[in-house]
Subunit: 281 residues, 4 copies
């Protein structure tokens, strides 16, 4: 603590997470983020706000100041200041502190609450562990691969929602809550996705019959995105499996005839019968 670390060392601690100091920094940051988000969440509960409002307000300022110091630090440490400030992480870091300062200027501060909750996104920075990044990449690759399929699917869903919403608006009418086509479309989405609040529900016989059709459709339809993602992930998984297997037995070509991909327990070449080198698992 006494001999002050170099700027390079500090940058390493702040931006990397591969040794003790940088991991501790990440952990401390994680705790600060979770606590500051908890304050936003708790402050929205009326009773807690009434009893501990001033304490939470003080804590809010404390976290804001800490994050402000961190923000200034990050700019100072960054090699590409412009890239940091206008990049995704820089903007999230700014949004994490701005609302508290703005609350001094504005009266209508409730909308700032949501922005404050965005602070939670800062956790993404910490979770840049290789393992999670690889998995997230795999998941998003699978989703990207099936992008066209998903677009076709979403298009079909929207078409069903629009047409079924219009039909139910005519069939049920305002008495059952189907007061307009947009509201009917809201109901159609609530039904198709099997959420089913029940705040709007058909009461006429014909309406219930059509609703039953939509539900059965939703039943079939929910199978499609699942099938798309499953097939992509299965394809990726089998690929991974295959790749994991091949390097384990990377070949052992026959020293005589060069034929490859002998089974792991093979002692002789299956083409020319020459003796193989011992497997090296």
């Amino acid at each position: 603590m006494i001999d002050f670390p170099s700027k390079e060392r500090l940058a390493h601690i702040v931006y990397e997470s591969d040794d003790r100091a940088s991991k501790n920094f990440d952990l401390a940051l994680l705790l600060l983020i979770l606590m500051s988000v908890s304050i936003v969440v708790l402050d929205s509960v009326e009773e807690i706000h009434a009893n501990y409002g001033s304490l939470l307000y003080a804590l809010e300022w404390f976290f804001t100041l800490v994050f402000t110091v961190e923000y200034v630090f990050r700019i100072w440490l960054s090699n590409n200041k412009r890239g940091y400030i206008f990049g995704f992480y820089g903007l999230v870091d700014l949004l994490a502190i701005l609302p508290t300062y703005l609350s001094l200027l504005l009266f209508q501060t409730q909308y700032l609450t949501v922005i404050r909750a965005l602070r939670f996104l800062r956790i993404l920075r910490i979770l840049k562990l290789p393992k999670y990044v690889r998995e997230a990449t795999l998941l998003s690759t699978a989703l990207k691969h099936s992008q066209a399929k998903i677009k076709v699917f979403v298009g079909s869903v929207l078409t069903i929602v629009l047409i079924m919403g219009s039909v139910m608006y005519i069939v049920e009418g305002p008495e059952s809550g189907f007061t307009s086509i947009p509201r009917s479309m809201y109901w159609a989405i609530v039904t198709l996705t099997t959420v089913g609040y029940g705040d709007i529900a058909p009461i006429t016989d014909l309406g219930q019959f059509i609703a039953a059709l939509i539900m059965l459709m939703g039943y079939a339809i929910i199978a499609v995105p699942t099938g798309i993602v499953s097939s992509e992930l299965t394809a990726a998984r089998l690929d991974e499996n295959r790749q994991a297997k091949t390097p384990d037995a990377p070949g052992r070509p026959c020293p005589e005839c060069g034929v490859q991909s002998h089974s792991e327990d093979a002692l002789f070449c299956r083409k020319c019968g020459a003796k193989l080198d011992a497997a090296t698992p």
Copy 2:
């Protein structure tokens, strides 16, 4: 704009979408469709109808006239006029303009609203991009392949719905909303599909027990269509993978005739019988 394009050129612009002009035409049409459908949707909201009703009415006539001109144009440009007029797209195009004209003759115009919403289907015409068509084909092939499985499945669901609906009608009776077997069947569908509005729900102990059984059944049953679609898509996906891989390893072209993608253990070209070079994986 000044030298008027030929009829062939116009037909190309209207019916194809592979150069700039035809893509712009598609885009303009897409916007017109979305706007005209938005008007139908918005006009159903009482407040908007009260305040902007006449504006929306004027816009409705504007879009109808534009679509009418387009419809006449399409007939004029088509080589197979009969095929266009009585085909799917021709009928949808006609349905897109008819309701507005009919509204002059009829008083009870609310049912025309739904028909107007069918205008949305015209978007399908624009989405005939090869990529989406291929994916839609893939999806529908997967569904067609599993048609027999799906029929067996739907049959089982309907049997469960009928029998469970009858049972719950007897067990719960009209007090809990199970006023008739059709209504009980509606409830059974709402429950099996896990929508669960709660407008009708069992209140007796026995009814709740049977309902719990139906829910657990629905749990198992929802796995079936998903499994069917997943397995079909996975099979299709792995096929695609395999086909995609072969050209990736175009390996070992025949030194005589250049034919590619020989199996890994091939010693002779499968086309001309020439000896192949050894595999080089």
Copy 3:
């Protein structure tokens, strides 16, 4: 119609469905079943019962008599009368006619309605088309294969339901509708299966927190049966694919060296270079 068919011919018409007469018989039977079940369903609607009750009663007797004649016929035609009468189909056939006769003796006839609905199961007899049987077998094989997995899964679900039901009974208490552990377990099933009626819902903060945990669990859990069925069906599907491919190109063994499974476009043996016979797709 005039020269009466032999008993063998009649048995063929009634029990098989591979020529015209037997298919027509099946179709007629299908219509009769659907109509008789429709009557049971419609008769449960109070308004219809009030207005058309006597007509439906007459139709009910008509269908019962037709089915009775058919039942007697089937016994007469059957080679294994005992096997038919006490087999699944024989019992369903008997249950299809018994309730109407019993209604003459009993006063409390409402319970007979459900039994009458079982008539619908007679459709199974008609659907014994080879295609559907094969698919149904495939589905049930997939389910049977994963039986042990499903039992483990159902056991886990029941454990969660029992323990979470007890916890919520203590946490929420009778005020929110959690009046007893059985009712709490009903709620837990409604929640885990994502049906979510909302007739019973937690209102305390702790209760809502626990409920949220159960929902997220249910989210994870619903993936398991789907995954089980998907994997079974995918395995079955890939098997089918493989089998479908091999017989399509059943070999074309090399006439010289006998090597098989040449690719479809191969002209020469990949082992010895001999000319292959032409493919015969």
Copy 4:
């Protein structure tokens, strides 16, 4: 019964389940557990408690005494007493009997009900049949394999829940039940998981629009865990298949050393290098 079994024999009966006596012991224990849990469940129903309370109380003491004897027995029979007492099963066994004794000391006994329900976990001990263990292992391996994927997924869900919860708290406000961010987050979970109680539901237009977006998101998101589990189980299933198949086609054993399962194109034995007979598919 007269000649008393040895301690070893007793330990075998109690801890194993591979012969008649030990299986009978397991069955008896299973029945006792189910009955004692049933008592806890039934006693929570007010009517039953009012009418049969004292009977259930007596039975409760009977089961507790039996389980106490069993507990003491298990300690006596165990070779590793410390390991048993502080292991998972030992603690569950203790928790199964403790609440009844504690109820003599405490007045506020309702919380003991839940602990009593934990008795159900004792069933796990009995279900240690090899078949179920293997399947449970397979399932848990599949889940463990996809652990990182699941963590990424749960993280994304929590981020959506927090941010959407905050947004809906601002948009809807206390009038529609969104009284605080925690409650809004509860609603977001209820919606994302498609449970949809309807106890809290958006009523403003903007709120319903955002809710529809969340539902469609939930639709896409529910596909992810299913896809993860499906792909893992499919990979495991195909592996199993492959292993199961090799012995099925033991084909072409080496005429010299008898080694089996040579690859289809092998000409020489991979173990001893002897020439193989031609493949006979």
